[in-house]
């Protein structure tokens, strides 16, 4: 069970983060929430799609990592097999929380990344100042925090223009096993082609055309993902 505590420069002065263990935190995730500002890095490896939060029913942008629960096809041989790891993984074990209306940084005290071995990345120096490592974590968290608002606005605009469409994948894997993947959504390309000049101008001004086309292009990685799954099944 995660146990979040507010990060404190005295309480947490002596701990360090074993960064080699961070990526393993996502070993059992089949999708991970992503933000608009990382789309261009994600598109190198991942299908970027929408899914609905099971808790709120609201759309989320996610990188697709596998086709079933607990299946991360990028996690192989105890390593994350991609040059870019989504922010929501690489920022572990840190989270953004709120306390008395203020945004604060929290730490998952139960995370296996935490160690007392000072050969790893410490968080504070002797004076209690942020280490270079922590500064980098903070900038990642800031990118996520900003990114969540931007991504929500992006999704709202797409919804208003009816540009989101369900994406149903009927996949036959190499072992003849068939799977229907539901609950994913993508850009409605037909509808996109029908937008009028005014609507397109709106998207352009909001800098949404690039992420829209990035998402469309990223869908090709679904074939790569199927290939990864076939490899995992022993067919290569």
């Amino acid at each position: 069970m995660p146990h979040f505590v507010a990060l404190h420069n005295q309480l947490h002065q002596s701990i360090a983060i074993d960064t080699s263990k961070i990526e393993a935190q996502g070993a059992l995730e089949h999708m991970v929430p992503v933000v608009l500002s990382e789309f261009l890095k994600l598109v190198v490896s991942y299908p970027i799609v929408f899914t609905k939060s099971s808790d709120t029913g609201q759309f989320l942008a996610v990188a697709l990592l596998g086709f079933a629960k607990n299946e991360n096809l990028f996690w192989q041989h105890q390593q994350w097999q991609s040059i870019y790891v989504p922010l929501n993984i690489s920022r572990q074990p840190f989270f953004v929380g709120t306390e008395a209306g203020q945004t604060i940084i929290c730490l998952d005290k139960e995370s296996p990344c935490i160690t007392n071995d000072i050969n790893h990345e410490s968080l504070f120096d002797k004076q209690g100042k942020d280490s270079a490592y922590l500064q980098q974590v903070k900038s990642q968290l800031a990118q996520l925090l900003d990114g969540e608002t931007h991504t929500t606005d992006f999704i709202r605009t797409l919804r208003e223009l009816n540009l989101i469409v369900p994406l149903t994948l009927d996949i036959s894997f190499a072992d003849q096993q068939e799977q229907r993947v539901q609950g994913l959504y993508s850009i409605d390309e037909d509808r996109l082609a029908q937008l009028n000049a005014e609507q397109l101008l709106q998207l352009q001004k909001q800098n949404y055309l690039q992420p829209i086309y990035t998402m469309i292009a990223s869908l090709g990685h679904i074939y790569a993902l199927i290939q990864k799954k076939n490899e995992r099944l022993g067919y290569a």
């Binding site: 609905k52 939060s53 099971s54 808790d55 709120t56 029913g57 609201q58 759309f59 919804r159 989101i164 469409v165 369900p166 609950g183 959504y185």
Partner: protein, 517 residues
């Protein structure tokens, strides 16, 4: 007699008036410049009856056709989900006597008839009821679960559902939608006179506040008063209280004990000594009422039974007494006037037939709107045939609930089983069902209201036995039947672990809304 039908005037602004006006306006795409115009005239002084709080699943398609968002509808009409009805104490009157009429077909319906298999294998099936064996919905209702998830799009379902709603708020909500989005003209005025031409067609209604309002087709939604069809056109009322004895309702609204008390996702109907009590869960309150036959009990006794059902909260409740005239007009469309809603008729509230008849009437009028007056008599004739049939089918189906009861605690239940009170059409079906289970071919009309599955749920829920011994070969697809029973059990397990509580989902819809895709 030879002119286009362009101006439609709906008189009366309850749910019947607004649904009809809205369906016509949406279907014919009315706006300020369209050839067809829909006007709704409503008295500022007559309150709407507003006890129709239960719908059928058809309401989902009605709302969709009106272009209404389900999230808005749920939020603004205090709506909640309804997955059928639970009938308590109807068969024997014992405290553990109940059965369900769910909104989903039995598993494998159309491929096989599970009744014979269920009847034969009851012991192996743990003596579970028919509905519990063939449909997963009863289990969801018993657990207080919603019929969908927050990620399920608007109007889509995991389990089929209808609504419970606040009728007063629903009327206002429809009014706003019809006026703002569908181009319906709204006039607040009291009709004081109805004007006709030599052929008997209504040419206009004279109002106290807005002068004469002329029209080509008039829709009478004036409630029990039936101002146009009944009073002006003198269409007689056909009384059916010889079949359905209920003639009075005592209606109350009861708050929940706690803010987070569960909301039942089905209507609960509990039989009493001379009638039954409805119990409908909305978000902020329950609507509870006792309908009874005043020929078999009196108001004082009926009130006592209502008080016993409600408990201590009864003391703070105000109870409205509403007379019920069970029956309908002889015809519903005469000349250029058609009645929809209470002005056409009313049966007792069992099985929530009032709003569905409004929806069916509104659909017919909107989609079959005669283009010119000279063809209207043909449309009227067809409308009358269709709805005479539908009212009769509803009367039969409601009566079915009473004739299967084994209660002997009052003359009400005994009289209900008296053959002279049972319509011949129902007697005939009961004869058939001695040897065969209800099937779709028993109900071959396009205008059927209740499907064969509904008759199965009521018949076998109330302990009716069909003798299949002459057709024992029907039991040959044993393995298929067994697989359907297993499917139901799997569906129950799956739904139980995935569906949220009914109140939990409603709270989330208030907070986040449902997605449209």
């Amino acid at each position: 007699m030879n002119k286009p039908v362009l101006s439609i005037v709906v008189v009366g602004g309850g749910t019947a008036g607004w649904i009809t006006a809205g369906r016509i306006a949406a279907h014919h795409r009315t706006n300020a410049n369209s050839p067809i115009q829909v006007t709704l005239v409503e008295s500022p002084n007559i309150p709407i009856i507003g006890v129709g709080e239960g719908t059928w699943p058809t309401m989902r398609s009605t709302l969709m056709k009106l272009g209404i968002s389900e999230t808005d509808f749920i939020r603004e009409c205090d709506a909640s989900f309804k997955q059928g009805a639970k009938f308590a104490r109807w068969t024997t009157g014992a405290s553990d006597d109940f059965y369900y009429h769910p909104l989903m077909l039995p598993q494998g319906f159309g491929k096989t008839n599970l009744v014979a298999h269920w009847q034969k294998n009851r012991t192996q099936l743990n003596n579970e009821s028919f509905s519990a064996t063939v449909c997963f919905q009863e289990a969801i209702c018993e657990q207080g679960l919603a019929p969908k998830m927050i990620s399920t799009p608007e109007f889509s379902s995991v389990a089929n559902y209808a609504y419970h709603l606040n009728a007063g708020k629903f009327s206002q909500f429809l009014q706003r939608h019809c006026c703002e989005k569908l181009g319906v003209r709204h006039i607040l005025a009291d009709v004081i006179h109805v004007n006709s031409n030599d052929h008997g067609d209504i040419t206009s209604v004279t109002t106290a506040q807005a002068g004469n309002i002329a029209g080509d087709l008039f829709v009478d939604c004036t409630g029990f008063s039936s101002l146009l069809l009944g009073q002006h056109l003198q269409v007689p009322f056909i009384d059916h209280s010889d079949v359905l004895f209920i003639d009075t309702a005592l209606a109350a609204q009861i708050p929940y004990e706690h803010e987070n008390s569960p909301i039942a996702s089905h209507t609960i109907s509990t039989a009493q000594s001379a009638g039954w009590i409805w119990d409908i869960g909305l978000r902020h309150r329950r609507g509870i009422g006792h309908v009874y036959s005043s020929r078999h009990t009196n108001e004082e006794r009926a009130m006592e039974e209502l008080q016993r059902y409600i408990g201590p909260a009864f003391n703070q409740a105000s109870v409205r007494k509403i007379p019920i005239h069970c029956g309908h007009r002889k015809i519903f469309w005469k000349n250029n006037c058609v009645a929809v809603g209470l002005s056409a008729g009313f049966l007792e509230p069992l099985e929530a037939s009032a709003l569905v008849l409004v929806e069916l009437s509104a659909t017919f009028i909107a989609e079959q709107l005669p283009a010119r007056r000279e063809v209207m008599d043909i449309t009227a004739k067809r409308f009358n045939e269709t709805f005479q049939y539908r009212w009769q089918r509803i009367i039969d189906f409601l009566k079915l609930h009473y004739i299967l009861s084994k209660r002997t605690d009052s003359e009400f239940w005994i009289d209900n089983r008296d053959k002279s009170t049972i319509p011949p059409s129902l007697q005939e079906l009961m004869e058939l069902w001695r040897y065969q289970a209800p099937g779709d071919l028993d109900f071959s009309s396009n205008n059927e209201v209740f499907p064969a599955a509904s008759y199965q749920y009521v018949l076998y829920g109330m302990g009716f036995e069909t003798d299949f011994s002459n057709h024992a070969h029907l039991l040959m697809d044993k393995e298929f039947a067994h697989s359907q029973f297993i499917k139901t059990q799997k569906a129950i397990a799956h739904a139980s672990s995935n569906l949220p509580g009914n109140r939990e989902l409603l709270n989330k819809i208030y907070e986040y809304g449902l997605q449209t895709i």
